[in-house]
Symmetry: D3
Subunit: 310 residues, 6 copies
């Protein structure tokens, strides 16, 4: 390598290695604890799918005779991976708060604290697994709603195997349950995985009822405090967002305030509509596409964009 | 593992393994038949690209002397994989209809029926391969339209190698041909792969003419019965959707009714416009962005969103 | 294989192998030069991230003692891969121009020209690496803006690890620097990688100031000549596009003309708004969602879509 | 590439592609049948080990509660892979005989014959699986003999996990059972895999009693018609071979004639001894190393190499 | 699947899952502890080689400037992997003794004991790493001896990169140091890896001086209590073994008694010679090939096999 | 990590990074040149096998119609990989000689010299490929000899697919041709690969006639200057070695002197025999196992080990 290039590179390495300048940009994991890992989370989601929809995902040919073997092995592997990822999330999120975390964690975890995190990770994973039958039941309603709402769908099987909307809803329902159990970081990573695959961004904090369907879905955004009833259907590009958010005296956004819409049962929202703020879209209302809604909409009503000009 | 956790998990396994409760959520593949496989389909698409655009995809350094070796090996591998995937699609889609398929397929396939499916898979794959020269010819028009329509494009090579619009159109043209041949399931999986990669969701049933271009493309949706002429250009976020769909007496959507727009030649549609229903956008019309169109638009006309308010 | 199938396939291979019909669809790489490779580019981006945000990406457990080892090894591997990819881009883009390149490159590179490309690739890679400290500094402002702008964000760590907006901005800042250095093809491939992962399409040619934040982001498009100030925030689906572009006397778009918007400091644009043409959105202006803007907007003003109809 | 090189290569391709000159060197597999695959066979052996010695091989953490899940899933996967490999062996070995098989198989299999081979493969695989409990029982005696025969062995666990002798004996016992069932080709491939890993070459046709131990083992050869009693121990480099073999009138070796030694119970043979021909080493005899034995050895006797010269 | 086959398989699964019959054949690892892993050990050996012989193994291009980065990253990764493997070995070997371990470990490890094992694993790994400079120095003498002893060797580089003898000696020197530190199980696995690759089986307990060379090497066996001086050279097939070993009153071999040969400095032993028992081969002696030696050999003497007969 | 451990490791890294102490143990590859790579060589050998024995190795189903495609693609890939590996060998072996090479190569290659090495690598690879038809012809004789010499062999197919002897001979014939062409380093690596897989160590310099067979093979060693006629058969453990070798005035072995045996046509040597020195085993002689031969053996004679003692 040419000497001038070599010098430039050596200098860059020196500059980039100045530890004291790394405030907030560097993460120092205690060695004996796992890192949150998108590879592990992908296997976790695949295992959940294989358990919820036997025979679709994973290599196995399911029969009446071998169903319990496959469920058993998959659930066990799920517990193994999920315990570790929950531990990773618990550790990763210790330093929350507004002030950017300094790169070096000032107090390393004691081995007792590490043991507590391990135990907690295993307990939360077991609690999650105990919820899987209920998650399966709810997803069955979503499959049905998706199938009935799309004339192009040929069978339940096609919906389960191919539809991005169902994929995003599955990840959301899994992530939402983990968030309810108090797991930090990991739920968000799980919904972001679906966001990347499908373009559908559902915050794990949202509350969503049975028979939920999203058609096509690219560009859908559902915020952290949104509340959605039963039999609701969204098309691509729909935003359920916040209009603005109050700041505290230090200028930071106040967290946890309800700031996203409430959609009552049987609402339909067409493509690219933006619904902002803690407003209520009443039962059975239909919202046309490409409109900007920041006020309540009455039940059973129907609103559309104003006429185009030519 | 802690005993309480262990009990929770053992119970969950039992509940999740109750075969009789799995109606519609379980898929039972007959052992000697392949499953539709997204891994195989990705290789199929890569092989199609390598055959259509020699030298861009795959590892080979193409020359006049070795072109036929590479085409030969790639086409043969394509036939091997595609035959199996078509068979998988044929089997997977046997139980179509509105009633959710029971998990266990009541009548296992006879070995004669299996043999027929195998033969049909091979025949359809060969027919598809016979169409590849025509597909290449049509994609050449799309490359040219994309290049000419984007001042930021530097060369045909950049368009072929980098442009998500062309990638989505390639998958669509392949999937559309397979659908024309009567292949179930697989065409939809192929367009969903492009949907996930590019955010562009073109139903394989749509009919699209030569010189088609999509710029940027994220959020584009083109429905199953849409008809698009020649020299049409769409920007990101454009929906060509259905406004509503009639239900049959059992409350299920009636399939196969034309319900998406017709775009005549030389139409341009700007970003995030939503065009719904079996309407016609006349030859040479320009549709501005962010508007909601549910009525015919005259040829050569130009419509825009109504003025903003301040 | 059935004989009729076999004949169809053999004929298709023959047709597809006709070298003389391949104008513009075939790429012939000179054997001793690398191809642009998305696999290599993904490793390059991962290495950049590992160097910029130590401890988040890659397997390493970073400490004060080992920071310089890891930076050293990663920067060196980055230089190795990036030099080769820049060479690939330089070669790939030799034949630019409107006329579709014939498949065979008429004049093969001399070995002196090859040596020059190699030397240039190494020099540009070293220059890029010398810019990494500045890129890190600017990305630190983006992390802070993203964190402060989202009440749902729990820590800097979550922003760095999970937020697609930051991921797209990182790829853009890397690609923009490479474009400034004169590297062809590769910058576009890097922003397209982020486009595919996040649905955010930022052209590497755009100019973007510090403290830039994109929330959710799916469907965002930022054109090649857009100019964005400091403390700007965009929501999902926002387009900063061109309205139209002048053609030269041969009917081809004229390249390099400023045709995208200018956003001054502190502008906020809500979801799915489309801003087209070389207009200026004044300092501190707020643009509501779902609107179509093709004229200048005054500083500190606020515009919204016209009222919906019921 | 230089033109002269190019011509040499093109000529070589032509010469090497002359189909008619390929007699006996080319294998033409009927497309719908699998090839014997060393990758599949390695997974088969790993699955057998995981079933026979639970908790040692494979990733699982075995407990009383999950043992049956793991056995179930592993046995099922074993059946899936083994059925296919047995079919491959049955097809591969159709053309046996002295005359070198012509490259093209003159009569392609009818689909009925293919179905028969499939059925036979499944039946033989199930028969093999039914033998696994007995194989496990016999291998338990080999583990014990190996442990007791080596002062350096610390535990049963070390023997099962690390000892090449046990690994070779495991492969042999699996392969021998398959050969007894009439499976062609595959048994030999399984013992060759152990041969490559351990340097121990046991023909699957040999008959070997309980409590068999091989120490170190590199270079051991046990021929196809060898018969070995119980509690026999061999050291590295021992050959149990054929002295010569009668030819038939066409000059080909006559197959199936007993031509390898018989070792009665409790025989010990030291390193590098060569025992040739259908001789009997009597019960309890000890054979010293590096000697050449072609005649019967009486029970309880002890023979050594003649004295060295200085 | 045919019903009869299915029944056979279901029965086999039941039989194989009988937990109480698994004495001594089943291993139950406590979940939070790693298993000894040959994959991890292969990476460990590759890292040791990369540290000892920089530039030969691993991908890096070593220069004066980057040497310390690479050593740093490799040593750190080595410590990470080796600590875990030593822990695995410590746990795995808890139940040693003659009585076959019952499958279920009666007393699960307390979390304090687990913490002790972790701490011990880290301490022993650090001690091993502190020995690497000395190991490198000793291997340098082996490289030189191998080079000088083989007229076919062209350079030190060829010896380091290609010679199986050096590969086996490297694994031995690493394993021997780990055994000296008291690490169980892992040293044996490391020498078995070399045994499988090279056919050379050196027990980690053997004591071997500087300038040791093995030529070709297949079939070499060096027992656990062998003692080898400096400048010794062995050819392929040489055994340094035990003649017999005393049993204790329960009929088990007594462990730890010196039972293998002592080779003084400058001894050469030709191919396939077998040297058994605690005898001494005096300084400078030469032992011809294919002989069986069970008595002391005087210094500087030379012994050969007795004459062949014709 | 504990502080004391950490200090030990930091110190070890410092010691191991002392560049000036690395004489002869460090390899510094010039960046733009490839390293010899066992991964690449394994693919090279697989490609050679796929070309020589079409249909056995690689995934393809060979037919009359596709044979030339597969040969073409495989030969081209072979040329691509082999050119690079020959270049690697040419560079790697520049510093040959007795004096240990200093770690830093004092004179870096000029770019002209690099270009020469590249050109030479391509030329030698093309020459090798031109020899493949002749290599195939000779290997066909080896297949026949192996088949006829083993009553346990069922078909040519079994010999080609499973026999380690044929595998070792294939690697030898490939490596020998490369050595004849003047390629350094790579031939030895190719025969060492077979040595590791099969335990058969044939030096690429040996000269071996048609119809060569090795049965079982573990432990066979054939030295660099050995000369073997036609129709020769060796059993496992046979050494054709050097008895001693003259040193030059500096104490280094003199290279290139004939020092290994000559075996005339139709010789058979049984297991574990050691034949040393430049002696001649006459036409048709038979050498019994386990003997040590250092003098000429007359044609058609037969020699055996002296009688055992009891």
């Amino acid at each position: 390598m040419n000497l001038i290039h070599s010098d430039k590179i050596i200098n860059a390495i020196k500059e980039l290695s100045q530890y004291d300048l790394l405030k907030g940009l560097c993460h120092e994991q205690q060695e004996s604890l796992p890192m949150p890992s998108s590879v592990a989370l992908e296997e976790i989601i695949t295992l959940c799918r294989a358990v919820i929809f036997p025979g679709y995902f994973g290599n196995a040919s399911i029969t009446k005779h071998n169903l319990s073997y496959h469920i058993g092995v998959n659930v066990e592997r799920l517990h193994h991976l999920l315990s570790a990822q929950i531990q990773a999330g618990l550790y990763f999120s210790r330093q929350q708060g507004y002030a950017p975390a300094p790169c070096i964690n000032p107090e390393p975890l004691t081995s007792q604290k590490v043991a507590e995190i391990k135990e907690k990770g295993q307990a939360l994973s077991a609690d999650f697994i105990a919820s899987l039958p209920a998650i399966r039941e709810q997803l069955a309603t979503d499959v049905e709603a998706t199938f009935l709402g799309d004339p192009a769908a040929c069978s339940f099987e096609e919906v389960i195997y191919c539809y991005p909307g169902l994929r995003a809803i599955s990840n959301y329902r899994i992530a939402h349950r983990l968030l309810e159990l108090g797991v930090p970081m990991i739920p968000r990573m799980i919904t972001e995985m679906a966001h990347s695959e499908t373009g559908i961004d559902i915050h794990p904090g949202a509350t969503i009822g049975d028979y939920f369907a999203i058609d096509h879905g690219t560009g859908v955004v559902i915020g952290a405090t949104a509340v959605i009833g039963k039999h609701v259907k969204l098309y691509q590009g729909v935003t359920l967002g916040a209009r603005s958010f109050p700041l505290d005296e230090t200028g930071h956004p106040i967290k946890g305030i309800p700031r996203h819409p409430i959609l009552e049962d049987n609402v339909i929202i067409y493509s690219n509509a933006t619904i902002l703020g803690r407003i209520t879209i009443g039962k059975g209302a239909t919202i046309g596409g490409n409109i900007w809604v920041t006020e309540d909409v009455a039940p059973e009503s129907r609103i559309l964009q104003s006429k185009a000009r030519k």
